[in-house]
């Protein structure tokens, strides 16, 4: 079916703000300056003399229309199912937005006197306690700004611990074992901390290959293991205790990537599995909004042995008073100015309060149930690469469709036409043409059924009319973009001579 588009529709043709700019328009008013003016407040040679060339001049109405229009070109969780595997796109409560904006939080300066910031420190402390309980690990820093930074912090803790334990000999222990299915941030963070990466193979069931793990351990020099659990195929590493014991016996430590904690909260705790250090993504498991790619918050939690090395300051309680403790001489140092993304902490604690003990577990159960339901419903139409039951995300490959020339990317793009955000594609790398589907607990059965039906329809289309899928999406404002040319001749900023919205009629 083809829909005749009205090509000049204003909401579909909003240009760049720079293209809207008209000299003399203003969108603000400041109170009149109420101090006596000093003419030469700044030496002339330090003053800017370009009159902020190119910065737009627009009215408040222009700005509101501009952003409202372009916002409608985005898909969002509030619009529907957003089944990005490994990203945990769950409902972002408005209540949490409200609490983060309470004046006493939003308007508080991080260097305000401790005695006048007790509420903020209390909030951090309470969130720390809850996250320690949820993970079963006693040490914590909420300073890391995002998952990748929490992970880097975790790896640095391992390094600091080994340096402290082994002294000079620590330099011979620089191998970080990482499964081939891991997030790309894992090896990148390990490299930033001075580790060499060795890759562990997966078994045909998508699990860590224990024989290979032992072999790598026997080669010596193992500082640690970076493991996601459930792993990035959505499968729980059943041998987790043995994995941890093997690494510990080899003198190393176990870091767990907490990206998939949404499958475990209230059910099982990394600390009880033998994990030494973990990061969490408050923007995944604890539903702080992803915001189009940030901000996140990536707390790092660890065992008592690693706790002396956590970033400072630590937020501690002394009697009834909360305080910042800088006195940890073994600390790896700061990873971020101040105390972390506090605004995200307010939201996460609001999430925990709203769910409570029962609700947290209930969310985990439904997240896993929803994924298992999808996994089961699509296993005929799509190739399911592993026999194992999935946890909170279901994995498939394009094997059944690629024979017709339809690959994962095409299936993803066609899903857009059915009103869904695509799943995560081509990740993890261990499955060719991977499609990783994480519905989360925020989707009801009717929507799950609609998604399943769409996927089955797309499979049928792939078999009967592959071009329809290959050329998708058909319903969006713009089609697939030429990313290769964009990278070859990068245009990364507006300039006055830039081509405007459309070069074709």
């Amino acid at each position: 079916m083809s829909i005749k588009k009205v090509t000049q529709h204003p909401t579909q043709n909003e240009g760049l703000i720079f293209e809207r700019s008209q000299g003399g328009r203003v969108g603000y008013r400041l109170p009149k300056l109420d101090v006596p003016i000093t003419e030469d407040i700044l030496p002339a040679e330090l003053r800017r003399d370009d009159d902020l060339e190119g910065v737009p001049e627009v009215s408040e109405v222009d700005v509101v229309r501009h952003f409202t229009r372009i916002s409608t070109w985005n898909y969002s969780i509030d619009l529907g199912m957003y089944p990005l595997g490994s990203c945990t796109m769950k409902y972002n409560s408005r209540l949490n937005e409200k609490t983060a904006r309470i004046g006493g939080f939003a308007n508080l300066h991080p260097l305000a006197p401790e005695e006048e910031s007790q509420g903020a420190l209390e909030l951090i402390y309470k969130l720390q306690e809850d996250l320690c309980e949820i993970t079963g690990l006693p040490g914590i820093s909420l300073q890391p700004a995002a998952g990748a930074q929490g992970e880097m912090t975790g790896v640095m803790l391992i390094r600091a611990f080994l340096d402290h334990r082994d002294g000079e000999a620590s330099k011979d222990r620089r191998v970080m074992l990482i499964p081939e299915s891991a997030h790309g941030t894992n090896p990148a963070s390990a490299a930033m901390s001075g580790f060499k990466v060795k890759t562990i193979r997966a078994t045909a069931d998508g699990l860590t290959d224990m024989a290979h793990l032992r072999e790598l351990c026997s080669e010596g020099g193992v500082a640690g293991l970076m493991l996601t659990n459930p792993n990035t195929c959505g499968i729980f590493e059943t041998d987790i205790k043995e994995i941890c014991e093997t690494i510990h016996a080899a003198g190393g430590l176990v870091y767990m990537d907490g990206a998939n904690m949404n499958a475990l909260v209230g059910i099982a705790r990394p600390g009880d599995m033998g994990v030494d250090v973990i990061h969490l993504n408050l923007h995944k498991t604890f539903s702080t909004p992803h915001g189009g790619g940030g901000p996140g918050c990536g707390p790092c939690l660890c065992s008592a042995d690693l706790a002396p090395f956590l970033p400072t300051p630590k937020i501690e309680k002394d009697g009834e008073r909360y305080h910042l403790n800088y006195d940890y001489p073994g600390s790896i140092g700061r990873v971020k100015a101040f105390y972390g993304n506090f605004g995200m902490m307010v939201r996460a604690l609001s999430y925990i309060y709203t769910h409570g003990n029962d609700g947290l577990k209930e969310a985990t159960e439904v997240a896993v149930l929803n994924a298992r339901y999808v996994s089961n419903a699509l296993k005929e139409a799509y190739d399911k690469p592993f026999e194992s039951d999935c946890m909170h995300e279901a994995i498939f490959s394009h094997k059944n469709q690629s024979k017709k020339g339809v690959v994962t990317l095409d299936i993803a793009k066609r899903l857009i036409d059915y009103g869904f955000h695509p799943m995560t594609v081509y990740f993890p790398l261990v499955v060719e043409g991977a499609m990783l589907i994480e519905p989360t607990e925020s989707v009801g059965r009717a929507d799950l059924d609609a998604f399943i039906e769409a996927m089955i329809d797309i499979d049928r289309e792939a078999q009967e009319d592959p071009q329809l899928v290959i050329n998708a999406p058909h319903s969006t404002r713009i089609g697939r973009l030429d990313e290769a040319t964009a990278a070859r001749k990068p245009v990364l900023r507006w300039k006055p001579d830039m081509e405007t919205l459309s070069t074709a009629a």
Binding site: L95, G103, G119, E133, A146, G266, F338
Partner: protein, 442 residues
């Protein structure tokens, strides 16, 4: 649980379809000895009004949030137009993910492109990324980038750069063969000295301007000194409002400009989330960390935007990536973009001018108080150091308790031997009456 759509009946039905009799059976792959098998020791579920009450009770203890404050030091209180916070709360912005599917993410991609453009315009640089976590981590990444570009290991950083930024960069850079050398400031001018540390092993000279003491550095001579030994010149800016008035680092030949964009419409929020700025020259694009958004066309010639040059990044390059960074500060970059566009050319200039004028007035008034002086002679923007007759902590305590004013930062928190010095910041949010009350209280 009201956030979970499926009713208990629907769940039971779904479990039945999977051949399971209860939710516990979903977790059979988790060995029983690592299952928790008890309720979490966290609160019972709370109703909406109970959550709000609990949060408000904590917020109320942050008494500093409602007092007139002269704190700056990298985080600034500024006016933000109402529409900034309204627009970022549109579902389409705050509940979307990283724009990996450009066909349904053009809203996000377009504002990132506008953000990158505005950062270039304000810093005077050629290219800017989609943002970093904050100013401190942006600076740390700049060290690493300079080391990659020059293939040298030594970084020379001024002690007048924000102390917490320097701590973060040291943490990031502790595991290579890096050498970090800190150089002093002149006790009379407050500006950088000690450039004789520059040599042919130096990857970068890193300075902040206005520096931590509020002093505006002589960027031209510093740039020339760095370039004379083949080092990159990195300029840190923690007060983004200053771009509206001060000649930008790009005009002095900065190779990398990093900074903090919190001043552009973002609440202080006890230190985060804030906004890391990262800008450089075109020739260094492929060594940049972080996301970049660029123009692309579809087959009908329609203009759109995509994330591009991702072969630098961790999801492709893994351990050989330019950084482990995965996110940017999406929504915060949006707030900053809306702020800059709403204020526009004249607003950014006017707010900068007001900051300079108000701070200038406060500086004059305080200098006239008996026993007080301005120790550093360099020109300043909206922050400056005052030296008092008594220990700064004592003065600030008195002003806080007796006058209800948060009077600035005791420099001794970060700098030994400066016990009587207070770092004072005056933005457009402080009225003349606020300033006069503070001066009277000293």
């Amino acid at each position: 649980m009201r956030y979970i759509p499926n009713s208990p009946e629907e769940r039971a039905d779904m479990l039945g379809l999977l051949g399971l009799s209860n939710a516990g059976e979903l977790f059979r792959s988790i060995p029983n000895d690592v299952q928790l098998n008890r309720p979490l020791n966290v609160t019972d579920p709370m109703a909406e009004n109970e959550v709000i009450a609990a949060m408000e009770a904590m917020a109320a203890k942050n008494t500093a949030a409602t007092k007139p404050s002269f704190l700056g030091a990298g985080v600034y209180s500024h006016f933000s137009p109402t529409i900034v916070d309204h627009l970022i709360q549109r579902s389409e912005f705050f509940t979307s993910y990283t724009p990996y599917q450009p066909e349904i993410s053009q809203g996000t991609l377009q504002y990132i492109f506008e953000f990158q453009t505005l950062v270039c315009q304000l810093t005077g640089m050629e290219v800017a990324n989609a943002s970093m976590y904050d100013g401190s981590t942006a600076m740390a990444e700049a060290y690493l980038m300079a080391q990659r570009v020059t293939r040298r290991e030594k970084v020379i950083v001024a002690k007048s750069v924000h102390p917490e930024y320097r701590e973060v960069a040291t943490t990031y850079d502790q595991h290579g063969d890096s050498e970090i050398v800190e150089i002093d400031f002149d006790e009379a001018t407050g500006r950088v000295v000690g450039l004789d540390a520059l040599d042919d092993r130096t990857a970068a000279l890193v300075v902040q301007s206005p520096n931590f003491f509020g002093c505006i550095e002589d960027l031209q001579s510093l740039a020339d000194a760095a370039h004379a030994v083949g080092a990159l010149f990195i300029v840190v800016v923690t007060e983004a409002i200053s771009f509206g008035l001060l000649k930008p680092p790009g005009e002095f030949g900065a190779d990398i400009v990093v900074g903090e964009g919190q001043s552009w419409g973002v609440p202080m929020s006890f230190g985060g989330p804030h906004l890391g700025l990262f800008a450089t020259q075109d020739k260094f694009i492929r060594q940049m960390p972080g996301r970049l958004c660029g123009v692309a066309y579809d087959k009908n010639g329609n203009r759109g935007f995509v994330l591009t040059l991702s072969t630098r990044e961790q999801h492709i390059r893994r351990e050989k990536a330019t950084s482990n960074i995965c996110t940017n500060q999406g929504l915060i970059a949006l707030a900053a973009t809306i702020y800059m566009e709403t204020m526009g050319k004249t607003g950014l200039q006017e707010v900068a001018e007001q900051n300079a004028q108000k701070a200038g007035y406060a500086k004059q008034q305080i200098a006239a108080v008996a026993g007080y002086s301005i120790p550093f002679s360099s020109p300043t923007f909206n922050e400056f150091v005052v030296r008092g007759p008594r220990p700064a902590l004592e003065v600030l305590e008195k002003v806080r308790i007796e006058n209800g004013i948060v009077g600035g930062l005791a420099l001794s928190k970060y700098y030994g031997g400066h016990d009587n010095d207070i770092l004072v910041c005056v933005t457009e949010t402080m009225s003349k009456a606020n300033i006069d009350a503070f001066v009277d209280a000293l």
